[in-house]
């Protein structure tokens, strides 16, 4: 009963040209004409058919859809008698799709132009929020992107440039000061990095490379410039939202560059070689000797002392929580060692000022200044070391070296024994007079102008090397106030008289030693000496620091040439001698630095806030986790090695100034497997950045002055 479309398949001449742009307007109602619109979409049909001329007659060709052949037929002139209203051609599906495509593309271009041309174009094209640290730069794209201030043509130009990577990195460095070799791997100079790489390669690795890294080596190389520089964006990707960590990086990426790759820290990270010790300690302290001998015999050796209960008696976590610092002399050492300093009254003090002695027979007559010189050797007395310079204290050598007359006199008196002037020439005797007069002048200055005289002389010698504050300490302004000058005044009166009172009789032995604070006059050798009364004596500390600063780089006292240099070197030797009162350098080490200057370590390991090392470790969380007295779990005392004294003093008991002379503090190197007990992937974590930094060096903060608020 059903019918099918075959029953209607009797008209095959229907107009069907879907690939053309325009179709007949009647097609949608099934009455499309057989001619169709032109390519411009215009309908030219006016009649219902185009009569066909067949021999001598015209035949109607009206399609069946329009009613088939008409009864009337065409007119004799071949015109169809039936008019037809023109249709409104419509676009084919294909054409409509094409038009829509054009419109959508135009809309896309329009939208882009609107975005780029708007006031907030940078917000529009920004690929995402900045991290919270850079949030203030969101409206200031030029801070990081060199081409941000340009237009589309400028961007095209930048896009084709090959140097924008490094140009952009330099923008980063405007704020992030990372040293001289910022863009080098690890911000370290290439030579040093090459040395460490070679060391790692030579040590070799028996473990096979992780598979991913072996595969990566087949891939592209690391993107570096010819100078080996990396752009910042190699590791740091911005525009990932406020909470994104710019410093995050996978362990495998870290290892891509390293000569000794490994799988995980707990599994096969290279063992520690000397961690954490890369130099000797700054304070000479032998833990083994103290633990095994001194502390075990405490009651007998130091009955009044306080024995430490544990490591934390002497050590404490610093304010940053990272390092263990020392509690200080008073808390840690004073109970046993303060007496050594305070009981220095049994030792002779340091000779600061001393009158040299001369031959008592010198001088033409009683009015000759040489006859009036207070310190004259007895007849026949031969005093060793009685040369002109030898008798001078280093202090006096320093302050007299600015006197040209004294300099000339010293040169003339070179090799002369002041204790025997019997064969001295007239010239030499004259030099002796100048010599003694200069010393007298110095003492007169000290009495009359006190600190000013010394400051003037010292400033002439040191220039800006010694700061004003230190200068004040050196000349006794700050320590013991005017005690030194009171002492000088006292002895000056005694030695030379004050015009009203005569000088004291020569060589008159006195049984009482006068004291002026830490200063005292020692009459038998015509000297003023100093003794420290407590630890951290400011005068001695400042003089030692000044000597280190003033000593020419690389010089030793034996090689000192000028009187000034000999004085400074002599002062240093005097104060650093192991028998020197105070014994500062018995415990405080002296380091020669990279520039050759000496530096005394008055404190233990200091926290350098802007110094970034390869390895970082924070004690606080570990102590909290393991317990305050868990130090021994990591720091194991190595009783096989005593901290040898040769690492701290030379054979002649001078300070050893090489900080790398020994790489231990008396403890064994920390073993990696101990760290790996907790630091696994499932436990405390073992990511590279937990313990290592990338940017190494000294990076003090720098302000670019770019982010002023503009407020008045």
């Amino acid at each position: 009963m059903g019918c099918s479309l075959e029953d209607y398949e009797n008209e095959k001449e229907q107009y069907q040209r879907p690939d053309q742009q325009w179709v007949c307007g009647w097609a949608s109602v099934g009455k499309a004409c057989h001619i169709g619109p032109d390519h411009k979409g215009q309908c030219h049909v006016e009649r219902e058919c185009v009569p066909q001329h067949d021999q001598d007659r015209w035949t109607c060709t009206r399609p069946k859809a329009w009613g088939g052949k008409c009864v009337e037929g065409p007119l004799p002139d071949g015109t169809c008698p039936h008019c037809r209203t023109r249709c409104q051609p419509v676009r084919s599906l294909l054409a409509r799709r094409k038009v829509l495509t054009v419109w959508v593309t135009a809309a896309a271009i329009g939208a882009i132009l609107l975005m780029l041309g708007s006031e907030h174009n940078t917000t529009m094209i920004s690929p995402g929020e900045l991290s919270v640290h850079h949030r203030s730069l969101e409206q200031n794209c030029e801070s990081c992107h060199a081409s941000a201030g340009e237009d589309l043509s400028g961007w095209l130009h930048s896009a084709l440039s090959s140097q924008h990577g490094l140009t952009q990195s330099k923008q980063c460095l405007e704020c992030h000061a990372l040293g001289e070799h910022s863009l080098q791997p690890h911000s370290v100079e290439p030579v040093r990095l090459a040395m460490q790489t070679k060391r790692a390669e030579d040590s070799g690795s028996s473990e096979e490379r992780p598979a991913w890294l072996a595969l990566a080596e087949l891939g592209p190389s690391i993107p570096k410039t010819e100078q080996g520089e990396l752009s910042c964006v190699t590791c740091h990707r911005e525009h990932r939202g406020g909470e994104f960590d710019l410093t995050q990086i996978s362990e495998n990426r870290c290892q891509r560059c390293h000569a000794q790759p490994f799988h995980t820290f707990s599994q096969d990270h290279p063992d520690f070689v000397s961690y954490p010790y890369n130099r000797r300690t700054r304070i000479y302290f032998d833990h083994s000797t103290h633990y095994d001998r001194h502390f075990s015999l405490f009651e007998r050796l130091m009955p009044n002392g306080k024995k430490p209960d544990g490591c934390t008696t002497c050590h404490m976590v610093d304010s940053s929580g990272t390092r263990m610092g020392l509690r200080g002399f008073e808390e840690s050492c004073a109970s046993c060692h303060a007496g050594e300093i305070e009981s220095a009254d049994v030792l002779p003090g340091i000779r600061f000022l001393a009158l040299p002695g001369i031959d008592r027979r010198a001088g033409d007559d009683d009015d000759d200044p040489l006859r009036k010189w207070p310190h004259r050797f007895k007849t026949g007395e031969h005093v060793l070391g009685s040369g002109a310079t030898e008798q001078l204290t280093p202090f006096m050598q320093i302050f007299l070296s600015s006197d040209p007359d004294f300099q000339n006199a010293i040169q003339t008196l070179n090799g002369i024994n002041l204790g025997d002037l019997s064969e001295a020439s007239t010239e030499q005797l004259s030099a002796v007079r100048k010599y003694t007069q200069s010393i007298r002048n110095l003492l007169d200055d000290l009495v009359e102008t006190r600190q000013s005289a010394l400051k003037l002389r010292l400033q002439k010698l040191t220039g800006d090397t010694v700061k004003q504050r230190a200068l004040a300490v050196l000349v006794g302004e700050r320590s013991q106030s005017s005690a030194f000058f009171d002492a000088v005044t006292e002895v000056h009166t005694r030695w030379f008289g004050d015009g009203e009172q005569p000088a004291s009789p020569e060589n008159e032995a006195k049984s009482v030693t006068r004291t002026f604070g830490g200063w005292y006059d020692n009459e038998p050798d015509y000297s003023i000496r100093y003794r420290p009364s407590r630890h951290a004596d400011l005068l001695l500390q400042t003089w030692l620091d000044a000597c280190c600063r003033l000593l020419p780089s690389g010089s030793k006292s034996e090689t000192a040439r000028t009187l000034q240099e000999r004085g400074i070197a002599g002062m240093f030797d005097l104060l650093s001698d192991r028998s020197s009162p105070g014994g500062c350098l018995k415990c405080h080490t002296v380091d020669r630095q990279h520039d050759g200057q000496l530096r005394i370590n008055w404190t233990g390991n200091r926290h350098e806030p802007y110094h970034h090392r390869f390895t970082k470790f924070s004690h606080d969380p570990h102590l909290k986790q393991l317990g305050a007295e868990s130090c021994g779990q990591c720091h194991v005392l190595d009783r096989e090695i005593r901290l040898v004294r040769s690492a701290f003093t030379t054979r002649d008991w001078k300070p050893n100034i090489d900080p790398g002379s020994v790489l231990t503090s008396g403890f064994s190197t920390i073993e990696r497997r101990k760290c790996a007990t907790c630091h696994t992937t499932r436990s405390a974590g073992e990511h590279c950045l937990q313990c290592h930094r990338y940017h190494i060096g000294h990076f003090p903060p720098r302000s670019s002055g770019r982010f002023t608020s503009g407020s008045k």
């Binding site: 009963m1 059903g2 019918c3 099918s4 479309l5 075959e6 209607y8 008209e11 069907q16 879907p18 097609a27 949608s28 099934g30 499309a32 859809a65 599906l93 409509r96 799709r97 829509l100 495509t101 959508v104 593309t105 896309a108 271009i109 939208a111 882009i112 975005m115 917000t123 529009m124 094209i125 920004s126 690929p127 995402g128 990081c144 992107h145 081409s147 095209l156 930048s158 896009a159 924008h164 990577g165 952009q168 990195s169 991913w212 890294l213 595969l215 990566a216 087949l218 891939g219 592209p220 190389s221 690391i222 993107p223 752009s231 910042c232 964006v233 190699t234 525009h239 939202g241 891509r256």
Partner: protein
Amino acid sequence: MKSFARRRWRNLGIALVLAVAILVFDYVYTLSMRSFSYVSGWTLLVVILGLAAYNLRKKLPFLPLGSSATWLQIHIYAGLLTAVLFLVHIEFRVPNGVFEIVLSLLYVLVFLSGLGGLALSRLFAMRLTANGEEVQFERIPFFIRQIQDEVHQMVLNGIAETETSVIPEFYVARLKPFFDRPRHVWSHLLQSSRPSQRLHREIREQDRYLSEPEREVMRAIEDRVRLKNRLDVQFSLQGALKYWLFLHVPLTYALLVFAVIHLVLVYAFSGGI
């Protein structure tokens, strides 16, 4: 059918292998301190241009560029692969800048419309075959008009022969709108026969008002209703197969425009590779 299945599995296998290779290469490339986004971006752009070239290929059948069927296969599986490339390119994160959100949305729309078109071409093709006759989409209005004219004539003849107006009234009220143009497009897309069944039910309900000769006429009309219904199914399904490209093609060009500008911006603001 076996060859279709074999071809599908083969092409799917190749696409999977390529997808895994992309992921592996991404990881390895990233290990070398480089950004794979540059490589994936360029690859994505080139692949999308290649996919867009399929439209051009169809317009140049006379050139020896391979068969359209092969191009279609490449278009489908390369299109699927662009999803992997895209996810790798955006590093599996949701973009959060205005421009990049628009760009990503455009890609997603193009991809989903492509997937939709692929699904339609598979599902609707089967349904069209099950529907019975094949008919050209452009000829459907012609057939509808002929059926409409025929039914109209049948109703007019019925008025002359019978004295009741049940059929004419029913024709004017329900059948004429039905025969005027394609009907129930969405129902046919969703494979719902409810509207046509309702019409048939209404036709049957007229039986009690009709005489025997009138019932004959109504049966004949009902046959045309069924035929018209089949034409409507053809119109809906074939129309969908043609109109989905109205989404896919224009969005592709918009995507290409945005992609080119994205390329310029990336290199202009790049800090290195």
